[in-house]
């Protein structure tokens, strides 16, 4: 049994943000009280061994749920696999991760869905929940067997990595997915507008001669998908929103009652296009980093609820792939191990976002939207939890990272505020930054 004493509990699902004592027993949250005496706790332990943690000055919140990770297995295990990715997850404070379907081969049938589930269980760290593709082979034309894949354990459908260019296919997907009750997760990117672009089109791309991707490449598809969701009454989730226009479109659609949720990646809340140097392939990401104005609009959208959740879009790549000229390096940032700390340091500490809002957007809301366990510390629920130490500082070093990837813009930087204990179903999986 665990007794976390005098810890600041943040649990948006119960509207708790206060100093509390928390008891965990048998893999579940047993009790959250204002204060407990040792005698009371020992009685509840009923002879079970007890570990007491002094939580003063630290936060306890539900294990984070990341709805957007690329674990690369099967097919690209040189970049990451389900074991290394789920270890990276718990090191970073994530107890549930949704695995994107754009592997090789893509996860487009029940057998592959079950393979991902099975590999996640074998790894035994974060819960790994597979997203299936929307179309067979991710080719954008024929729908997958959604009902069968749901039976196998899929939690959503997405051709992420690629936009569904054919609007009729997108419309049919929103219709057919009603059979499952799951959202279609849309990667909004007009193929022709994005072209061979490398970064957001703007003054910085013009100055460096790096081919630009206009903001409209995302927003025109956001507009299309919102219209299709409204017309069909289907469930839509928009991945990695990055432009001011997209935020505005979503805000209006929500006001009309469209069944849409949206996520934003930490890097779009922290960086902007002006900060990209001509060899900074660690900041080469898709969708590309936007303008300062976009960054402000995204923060505002997350604050007012237009944007529902934060998701990492953890996109691991090998060092050799990123050690290339900008145009030749792949898009993506590996961020499971640094995302929470980055959000703490760059957004919560300066007062741009409250920690309560961050935790809500990264646990309760994703759990609700995708019907997942976790995201709450209600007594009787599985004890997926994070103890976060706001004062813990660490240099992000290659030797310490447990992901296979090193493509993070925070490499060699000192960061502050880290998860120092993480439990999955009451089992301690990370202590003092070391995965157990």
């Amino acid at each position: 049994m665990w007794w976390l004493k005098d810890v600041w509990v943040i649990d948006p699902s119960q509207k708790i943000s206060a100093s509390r004592d928390v008891l965990v027993k048998g893999g579940q949250v047993l009790e959250i009280s204002s204060s407990l005496t040792e005698k009371e706790v020992l009685e509840k332990a009923q002879g079970e061994s007890l570990e007491t943690i002094n939580g003063k000055g630290k936060f306890l919140f539900p294990g984070l749920i990341d709805v957007h990770t690329h674990l690369r297995e099967p097919g690209q295990e040189d970049k990451e696999d389900i074991l290394s990715g789920s270890r990276a997850a718990v090191r970073g404070g994530f107890t549930t991760i949704m695995a994107m379907a754009n592997t090789q081969p893509p996860i487009d049938n029940r057998a592959l869905i079950e393979f991902v589930c099975r590999q996640g269980e074998r790894a035994g760290y974060a819960h790994v929940l597979p997203i299936g593709t929307v179309t067979k082979g991710m080719l954008g034309s024929e729908l997958v067997e959604m009902a069968d894949m749901k039976e196998g354990g899929a939690v959503a459908f997405s051709d992420d990595g690629k936009n569904i260019q054919n609007s009729e296919v997108m419309r049919l997907a929103l219709e057919y997915a009603k059979l499952t009750g799951f959202p279609i997760i849309s990667h909004c990117e007009d193929k022709d507008l994005a072209g061979e672009g490398l970064m957001r089109r703007g003054v910085a791309s013009g100055r460096m001669g790096l081919r630009g991707i206009p903001a409209s490449a995302e927003s025109v598809i956001v507009a299309r998908d919102l219209i299709l969701a409204e017309e069909t009454g289907g469930k839509l989730h928009l991945a990695h929103i990055s432009t001011t226009e997209s935020v505005e479109l979503i805000r209006k659609a929500k006001a009309r009652g469209v069944d849409v949720t949206a996520e934003v990646n930490p890097h779009h809340l922290i960086f902007c296009d002006e900060e990209i140097g001509i060899t900074d392939t660690a900041l080469k990401v898709n969708p590309p980093l936007g303008s300062r104005g976009d960054r402000e609009a995204l923060i505002e959208g997350l604050r007012d609820g237009t944007i529902d959740m934060i998701a990492t879009d953890h996109a691991p790549h090998t060092q050799a792939e990123k050690a290339r000229p900008f145009a030749e390096a792949p898009f993506g940032i590996a961020s499971l191990e640094t995302a929470l700390s980055a959000v703490w340091q760059y957004l919560v500490l300066p007062g741009r976002l409250s920690l309560d809002r961050v935790i809500e957007a990264w646990s309760d809301t994703p759990a609700q939207r995708f019907g997942l366990p976790g995201g709450s510390l209600k007594p009787g629920t599985l004890a997926d939890m994070v103890l976060f130490d706001p004062d813990f500082s660490e240099v992000i070093e290659s030797a310490k990272l447990v992901s296979k990837a090193r493509n993070t813009p925070f490499l060699e930087k000192t960061m502050q505020g880290f998860p120092v204990m993480v439990w999955v179903e009451g089992r301690l999986v990370q202590r003092d930054r070391t995965v157990i």
Binding site: R201, A204, G209, L210, R324, P325
Partner: protein
């Protein structure tokens, strides 16, 4: 001044003092180049490697000539014949060249930023001979050297650069170089090739060439990549040439004896009419000579700094 820079990557991060020093050194180099016996022992025992990932005749030859006049040994690696075509990464190729003890690596590469990428990993000096759409510093330096020869002091002069600015490393490097020297720069061309974000370089932009010409001391036409028409960036050569082609008639609008420059090779009848092209031939030949002088100056400054050929 004391030369400190290890590499020549872009004009953007150079000081005015450095640019003046290069131009001054190039003047001396040009004198050497014009001698009947043009061979110096200065860089004897030094090796210069040309690493060219894009086809180029004049730039590659110009660097090779420059290095040879200074007495260095040169090697050219043309991509098609090397292991690059077998998929070796720029990183690995560069490390191999370093291991062969090159003193200067001259890189031309289709990716913007590749020169800085190389310079960050290599000990030898790197000279950017054109990286993607980003920079072509030696071209800008030879252009400004030629302009100075013709016009003297450049401060306050007006330059109009016409054409496909968006995809042009020559336009970007010239814009930085000219503005650092106090020249007013205007980019002219259709909105698809001269988009508004190019104002970020500090230049004026216009889509109406005729309105930009009055008062122009120099007009530079960029080579139009004919394949851009297929991508829809302009409708036809006919319309392009009608709106932006340099003709004798159009050049009268400057109201001056303006100089016309072109980085070559020219599409005669497209961005420049035949008669204008013929009238600037002499200047273009001069640019080629100046190009060798500028590249001699740069190689000398980067690896021959302790000898006193200039003094």
């Amino acid at each position: 001044m004391k030369w400190q820079r290890k590499d020549i990557l872009a004009i953007e991060d150079m000081s005015v003092e450095e640019i003046r020093h290069i131009l001054h050194t190039a003047k001396v180099m040009k004198e050497i180049l014009m001698r009947p016996i043009k061979k110096l022992p200065t860089l004897k025992g030094k090796s210069v490697v040309n690493l060219f990932y894009e086809a180029s005749t004049r730039t590659r030859t110009s660097f090779e000539m420059a290095a040879k006049v200074l007495g260095a040994d040169t090697t050219s690696i043309a991509v098609a014949q090397s292991s690059v075509s077998k998929g070796e990464s720029l990183y690995d190729t560069a490390k191999t060249i370093q291991a062969m003890r090159a003193d200067v690596v001259i890189l031309r590469h289709p990716s913007s930023g590749s020169a800085k990428f190389l310079a960050d990993i290599l000990d030898p000096a790197v000279i950017n001979a054109g990286d993607g759409q980003h920079a072509h510093p030696t071209q800008a330096l030879l252009d400004i050297f030629t302009m100075q020869e013709n016009l003297g002091k450049l401060e306050g002069k007006n330059v109009v650069i016409v054409g496909d600015v968006l995809h042009s490393r020559v336009a970007r490097s010239n814009a930085w170089c000219l503005q650092k020297m106090g020249v007013n720069v205007t980019f002219a061309g259709p909105p698809t090739l001269v988009p508004v974000e190019m104002e970020g370089l500090g230049v004026k932009i216009t889509h109406d060439l005729d309105s930009a010409l009055p008062g122009a001391d120099i007009v530079m036409a960029l080579r139009l990549q004919l394949e851009r028409q297929k991508s829809g960036l302009f409708p036809s050569l006919r319309e392009y040439s009608h709106l932006y082609g340099l003709t004798t008639e159009r050049l009268k609008k400057t109201g001056k004896q303006s100089i016309v420059l072109h980085p070559g090779p020219m599409n005669r009848g497209v961005e420049i009419s035949d008669d204008v092209a013929n009238s600037v031939d002499a200047l273009i030949e001069r640019q080629v000579t100046n190009g060798v002088a500028i590249r001699m100056a740069l190689i000398y400054l980067l690896i021959g700094g302790s000898s006193n050929v200039v003094a």
